[in-house]
Each structure stands twice: as structure tokens, then as C-alpha cells.
Amino acid sequence: MGIGVESLVKKYGGKTIVDNVGFHIADGELVSLLGPSGCGKTTTLRCIAGLETPEGGRIAIGDEVVFDAASGVTVEPYHRNIGMVFQSYAIWPHMTVFENVAFPLRVRGASQTEVERRVVRALDRVGLGAFRDRSSQQLSGGQQQRVAVARAIVHEPAVLLFDEPLSNLDARLRDQTRAEIRALQRELNIATIYVTHDQTEALSLSDRILVMRDGRIEQFGTPEEIYARPSDMFVAEVVGTANFFDIVVDDAGLGRDSGGTVFRTAFPGAAPGKARAMVRPDRLRIGADDGAGGPNRLRGTVRQRLFMGGYYEYVVETASARPRVLSAEAFAEGTPVVLSFNDENCIFLARD
């Protein structure tokens, strides 16, 4: 079961939009496609749904091959057992909420009692039980989104496909709905692909994240892995804020910046020579300058302090960079400080 994609290639007018993408998603797993605008996330999703015909590769949904360029198999979208939530929701304006949600059952020839039972359950699941007879044109954005979700799950598809389902909602509603989608997906235990370019969404929702760049897979791993050990600077920036320090790595695997501070990482293997050390703002500890030396201790001066509510965000000037630091402790601007971090929160990346 689940979803299998192998060496998928999709071109538009000679331009390769999806370039040899392959991954497997287990049953019940939620995978986010994360990447900047235009990197091919929607296109990949639409290939899986069958709304685009790829130029090459293989796609399997469940145990069934739905696309195989080599043997010429192309299963129409309506014969793939999928549920899809579109970015625009695509709620049919000429049908009531009930009829929208009932549609996947009706076209599959389900009996009236079956339709009734399943639609009511799907609507209850998304909290729209009371809206069944509403015209779909009298719904708020958030309600439309729920109808779209109910419509996607009502026939218990083998896979669920989401294309930025929260991007049209306001921030508060987005947080709430995100949690609901996660709960729903857990409960249904359906393999799910979730396209987003919002890192918070990807980090909080996913079992695994697939980071894309220019139509290729950049990294595929759990949120924790990708956050702590991005494979390169691009991924580091896609999944959160990153502080970079220009360093030179010596043969012993230790880095040194222009101010002479030694950087040590728990993840050896970086080639000697020029590199960059990456430490997340929340993994940097800020403290008063006590004069003590040692590795992973950066001297600097507080240049800017922003009060963020529960914490402060600082910009600190060090010999080689201006890292951002989050801390609950207050330091005035201009104060000399020391930034320190643990070996496992520091990773050496190639400069690109």
C-alpha cells in the first residue's frame, strides 16, 4: 500500500519541471512536499493524481501501477482511488454542501442509505454536521476548506492529496485547521501527500518531509532530521532560520572562523577546507561575557533586541557573522555577550 514514485519526469514545452523524482510513502504516513514557489510541488502532486501526464517514470498507488511510461500504462484520475483537496477548494457552486460531499459516492453508484450514512459521518468529522443543506456559496473560506476535506475523505480513498489547503485561511484558523488535519489523517490512517511552502506547517504536520528544489529532491527525512541535519544550506534555510558562520575546516575536523573561534560538530565527515557552520537561533545560548574561552563559544556584542512576547530576538555581532539568537533573558543593546552551543547543534555544510 502507500504511494510509490520512481524517476518521475514532467516537462512543459521542453522545460523539465519535475526531474527524476522518486520516493515511497508508507500506508498511514503523512509526507509534506516542501520547497520554494515554482519548484514543482504542485506538478508532482498532479502527476500522482493523474491530472498531468508525466514524460517518464512510474507511479503506484496502493498495489496498483497507475502510471508507467515504459509499458504505456496511464490510469485516468477518476480510476485512481484518491481524495484530493485543491488549493482553491473547488467547491461546486451549484450543489449544496451535502451534494458536494456525496458526489464521490454517487459517481461510484453507492446506495442512497450508504450515501446518507457516509456523508453525515464525513461532515461530522470536519465539524460541519449542521451545514449539510447549506448552499455551498454561503460558506466562509474555512468552511469551504472543510467541505473540500470531507469530500476528499468520504469514499475512504487509498491516498489523500493536499495542495496548500491552508494557504487561503487566516493565521489563527490555519493553526487550528492544521492540528485538525493531522488528527483526521491519524484517525483515517491513509497515506497522505501534503504540498506546502510553509515550513511550520511541514515541520508540525509531517511524518517525513520531502524538500524540493528546481524539480529535484533535495532531502527526504523526518522533520527532526531535516531541521537538525540539513544536507545543505538550501535545506537549512527552507526548514527554518539558520545562522551561518564562514569557517575553515582543518584535518582534525575542527572549524575556525576569522576571529579564531573553534567550531566543533558532533557530525564529522566534512572535507578539510572552506565550509560553513550552521547553528539554529534557538540552539544558541546567550550569556554575559565572562572572559572564558574554549570551542563553540563566540564573543560578540548585542546589536539589536526585538521583544517577541515570550522571548527576545537578538542580533549579535561576532567576528565573522551577525547571528540571530532567541532567549528569554534580557540584554541591553551594546552589551558584550558570549554565544555558546553544543556539538550536536552545529553542522558543517559545503559553501555553495
Binding site: 484520475p77 477518476y78 482511488n81 485543491f86
Partner: protein, 564 residues
């Protein structure tokens, strides 16, 4: 769930690509057949000495004769009439648009309603009414003669200015409806900024509104010009008696009166199409260049400009226009239909219902009713189907070759009705449908194909593609999603498309004038024929009955819940 799921997997098959390709091929071939056949036949005919179906040989004479004094003179007359008509109509339309969308004119709703009425008032009925009103023996001259004495008629509708007058009355609503959209879309905060900068209303109109509207105005000018060049009924009814010919009537005379010179007519027709085709091409370029900023989204209401003491002027002009273009002509027709012999003074008239009775008793008229029902009612279904397919392919599916289809379907915009009719005359003698109602149906479908594609296309473009994709993703195949999702969502466009086509087919004279036969006569032709035979009473009665029947039928169609 298993029952539901297994259904999906049992019904596997390869893509429906071939079916779509087959439908596209059929659509393309139908459109090409309908539109290119008459054009090619005209081209062929323009090099022939004889008439369609008769003995004939190759000649260049027809093209040489295009340069003869008579044709060149007609060309000048046509251009003079058309330029005057388009300028005056655009000014009128722009004025009305401005009054409705920018001023505090009091009777906006009534005005828009009345303009809509005259928009659907057939040109040939308007022309007929104005002959009754303003011909030398007509009502106005008679009344004025009584008042001022003297025998010389004050108005002579059988003249160049008469043609221009009726055409302007007829075309102003068209200009109004083409200018309305751009005017509504125009960001009125630009004008308000003009007022805020100290501009008086006149300065703002001149320095802001007009420059911003320049492309829509140009486009309207060109479209009105084309409408005027291809206008047949009005110059035929008031021009021919006054010996004023336009290219359209010249072409008709060349074909219909012996000795016919159908070859020269074909050359004239092609030359006319070149003029109108180029104008349409220019109009498309103008539209494409329109870069005026428009309001997106809802925007706020414009603060209308106070007319103040100009209110009376505005009221008078609008009332006069509405009266001249619709109400007085209608009254004149009702009057004429109810009297025995035409007299201008109602107190001298012998009132009667004989004219209406005669309609009922004339088998030819009943036949014309039936034919019209078939051609307009049934033909519009055909035209709408083809138009919808074309719109769907050119705006949505875009298979290879869709651009060619797009150009093909837009061609009839540039071909005058009488010319398409002549093209069919030149070609149908070789086709098995010769002499049947199908000739008229095909001719109308071809002539008005752009009406259908534009109306439906505008809605197709608006339709979010995801609505259909969501249906596929929900498990509905192409046919089911078309029926359950697309068709209901297109319904408003399909209904108004049908309405437009019905009206257009119903009132068409130009395209039918050359190809109807005794057995395929339609109502518009019957009315015209009665009128030409000086049978004004019956012609008026038939106009009125036909209008009432049409309105009733259309109301029924528009009401009918098109349940699918």
C-alpha cells in the same frame, strides 16, 4: 466500502484521448465546412462568367469591373454612411454610458431597460416603421403638411441621411453595451483624483475619462463601422426606393435582378469582406493594446457626478432617443396594422382587424411561422452546440490545432451576412441539401458562430479548471463530470447564447435574402415581402404577432429549468 472501491478498479481502461480527438476533428471539420465552403465558392464564383449551376467559364472580368465607376461610387457611399453611422453611434453610446455609470441621472434603470429593448428591436422592423413615419407620404410629413401647409415633404427617409438616421438609432444600443463593460471596469478613483486636483467635470472628462477610454471607444467605432457596412435590411428598405445603394444592396441587386451578374456580386462580396475583415482585425489589435488600469475585485461605489441644471437636457435627449428608437416606431406599427388603408391621420382611418385575420388565413404565413420555428428554434440548438464545442476546445482543452479553430470560428465576424448568403448560393447548388431549410440553418449557424463561441467562451474562461479536476479526483469520468459539473455551471451562458442565437436567426434577412425559396420562406422574409408589395398593414400585423410570439417563446425557454 469494498463495493464502492472495487467498482473503481473493475472499470479500467486506457485514456479517452481518442474520443476527444475524434470530437475535435468533427468540430473542426464542421466549422471548416460551414465557413470555408461559402468563402471558397465565392472565390470560385468571382472568376466565373455565369451563375451558380449554369454554364460558365473562367474570367477576370469581374475583378476588373470592381474598378468601374458605379461600384466605386457605391463604395464611397457605403463608407460615407458607415463612417457617419459609427461616429454618431459611438458618441451616442458613450454619452448614454457616461450618464448611467458616472452621473446622477435619475432614470438609469429605465434607460438601461429601454436601451435593451431597442437592442433587440429588429433593424428591418425599425426601418419599416420609419418608412411609415417619415417617407414622403408618411405620418410626419402629413402632419407637418397640415400644420404648415405646403406640399413639399419635410422629411425624406429614402435618402443617405435617412439610412444613417435609422442605422444610428439601431446601432447606439450596441455601442452602449460594448462601452458599458470597460466603463464599469475603469478605476473611477482615477477620475476622482482628477476632481481632487481641481479639475471641473468637463476637464476631467476630457483629460482623464476620454484618454482612459480611448481604446474601448476606438474598438466600438470599428465594430459599429462593420455593423454598418454589413447592414442590409435598412439600406434595402429605405435606400433602394431612393436609388441610394450600398455595397450590400448593390450585391443583392446584382444577384436578384436580371440579367444577374453573380460573378461580379461575388467579387463585390469578397471586397466587402476584405473591408470588414480588416476592420475586425484592427479592432482586435486595439483591444489587445488596451492597457487602461481596471478595478479588480469589488471596489467601492463611484460617487456619481451631479448633473444639476443639465438634468433636463439629459432627460430630454434620453426620452427622445428611446421614443425614436422604440416606442414611436412600435406605435406606428400597431396603428398601421389596425387600419384598412394607410392614412396618416387616425381620425380618417378605417379601423379593422382584417390584417391580422389575413395572417391566419394565409398558408404561406403559417408556413413561414413553422419554418422560422425550425430555423431559429432548432437551428439555434445546432449553432449553440457547435459554438460550445469550439469554445471548449479553444479555451480549455487546447489540442494541437486549436488556434486554427479559433481563427476559423472568428472569421464570420468579418463576413457580411449578405456575402455569406451569396457564398451559400454559389455552393449549395452542388450540395444535396439544395432547396431545403437546412441551407438556411447552415448559413445561420456559420454566420453567427462567433456569437455562440464568444458567449460560451467568456464563461468557460471564468470556470476554475479545478472544479472539473475535483470531479475527476472524486471518481467521475469525463462524461459524468461534464454532465454533472460543467454543464450546470455553463448553464447561464448556454441560455443567453441560445437567446442571442434565436434572436439573431429570427431577425436575419441579409443572409437569407439570396437563398430562400418559396418553401423555405421565414418570417423576416415574409414581413419584408409584404412590405415591398406595399402591403404595410399585413407587414405591420405580422411584425407585431411575430414579436409577441418570440417574446413569449423566449420567456418560456429562459424560465425552463434546464435540468440535466
Amino acid at each position: 466500502m469494498n463495493g464502492v472501491r472495487s467498482l473503481a478498479s473493475s472499470e479500467r481502461r486506457r485514456g479517452p484521448g481518442w474520443a476527444v480527438r475524434a470530437i475535435f476533428a468533427a468540430t473542426f471539420l464542421s466549422a471548416a465546412f460551414l465557413i470555408l465552403t461559402p468563402l471558397l465558392a465565392l472565390l470560385h464564383g468571382s472568376f466565373q462568367t455565369g451563375s451558380p449551376g449554369g454554364a460558365s467559364e473562367f474570367t477576370l472580368r469581374n475583378w476588373r469591373d470592381l474598378g468601374s465607376g458605379n461600384i466605386v461610387h457605391t463604395l464611397f457611399v457605403t463608407c460615407y454612411i458607415s463612417v457617419a453611422t459609427s461616429v454618431l453611434s459611438t458618441i451616442g453610446g458613450a454619452g448614454l454610458t457616461w450618464l448611467v455609470y458616472r452621473s446622477d441621472f435619475r432614470f438609469k434603470k429605465s434607460l438601461v431597460g429601454a436601451v435593451g429593448l431597442s437592442f433587440f428591436f429588429p433593424g428591418f422592423i425599425l426601418a419599416m416603421a420609419w418608412v411609415i413615419l417619415a417617407s414622403p407620404g408618411g405620418i410626419f410629413n402629413d402632419l407637418l403638411g397640415h400644420v404648415f401647409g405646403g406640399d413639399d415633404p419635410v422629411f425624406d427617409i429614402y435618402s443617405v441621411s435617412g439610412i444613417i438616421w435609422i442605422q444610428v438609432l439601431h446601432i447606439v444600443p450596441f455601442a452602449f453595451f460594448t462601452l458599458r463593460g470597460p466603463m464599469i471596469a475603469m478605476d473611477s478613483s482615477l477620475e476622482e483624483a482628477g476632481y481632487a486636483s481641481g479639475g471641473n467635470p468637463w476637464a476631467v472628462i476630457r483629460r482623464v475619462t476620454l484618454p482612459l477610454m480611448i481604446f474601448p471607444l476606438l474598438s466600438s467605432l470599428l465594430l459599429c463601422f462593420v455593423l454598418s457596412v454589413e447592414q442590409f435590411a435598412i439600406p434595402a428598405m429605405v435606400g433602394i426606393p431612393g436609388h441610394v445603394n450600398t455595397l450590400a444592396t448593390e450585391l443583392y441587386l446584382l444577384t436578384s435582378f436580371s440579367p444577374p451578374n453573380t460573378g461580379l456580386a461575388a467579387a463585390v462580396g469578397l471586397a466587402m469582406s476584405a473591408v470588414t475583415g480588416l476592420s475586425i482585425f484592427a479592432q482586435r489589435r486595439v483591444i489587445a493594446r488596451n492597457t487602461a488600469p481596471t478595478v479588480t475585485g469589488k471596489g467601492y461605489r463611484v460617487r456619481p457626478l451631479a448633473l444639476g441644471r443639465w438634468h433636463w437636457a439629459a432627460n430630454t435627449i434620453c426620452l427622445a432617443y428611446v421614443a425614436m428608437s422604440f416606442f414611436i416606431p412600435t406605435l406606428a406599427l400597431i396603428y398601421t396594422s389596425c387600419i384598412k388603408f394607410f392614412v396618416a391621420n387616425p381620425f380618417d382611418a378605417a379601423w379593422t382587424f382584417r390584417n391580422y385575420q389575413q395572417l391566419w388565413e394565409s398558408p404561406g404565413t403559417l408556413r413561414a411561422f413553422w419554418n422560422t420555428l425550425v430555423v431559429a428554434g432548432g437551428g439555434a440548438v445546432l449553432g449553440l452546440t457547435l459554438g460550445t464545442l469550439v469554445a471548449w476546445f479553444t479555451h480549455r482543452l487546447k489540442p494541437p490545432g486549436y488556434r486554427a479553430l479559433d481563427v476559423l470560428a472568428a472569421l464570420p465576424f468579418g463576413i457580411p451576412g449578405i456575402v455569406i448568403g451569396l457564398g451559400f448560393l454559389w455552393s449549395y447548388v452542388y450540395l444535396p441539401i439544395h432547396g431545403s431549410l437546412m441551407v438556411l440553418v447552415f448559413c445561420y449557424v456559420a454566420r453567427f458562430l462567433p456569437y455562440a463561441t464568444e458567449t460560451v467562451g467568456a464563461q468557460v474562461v471564468q470556470l476554475d479548471k479545478a472544479l472539473e479536476e475535483a470531479a475527476w479526483a472524486s471518481g467521475a469520468n469525463r462524461l459524468v463530470s461534464f454532465r454533472r459539473i460543467i454543464l450546470p455551471l455553463l448553464r447561464p451562458a448556454l441560455q443567453s447564447g441560445y437567446f442571442l442565437l434565436f434572436i439573431a436567426y429570427f431577425r436575419e434577412i441579409a443572409a437569407a435574402a439570396l437563398i430562400y425559396t418559396a418553401s423555405t420562406q421565414v418570417l423576416s422574409i415574409s414581413i419584408w415581402a409584404f412590405f415591398e408589395n406595399a402591403n404595410w398593414g399585413v407587414a405591420s400585423a405580422l411584425s407585431i404577432v411575430a414579436t409577441i410570439v418570440t417574446v413569449a417563446l423566449m420567456a418560456a425557454v429562459m424560465r425552463a429549468p434546464l435540468k440535466v
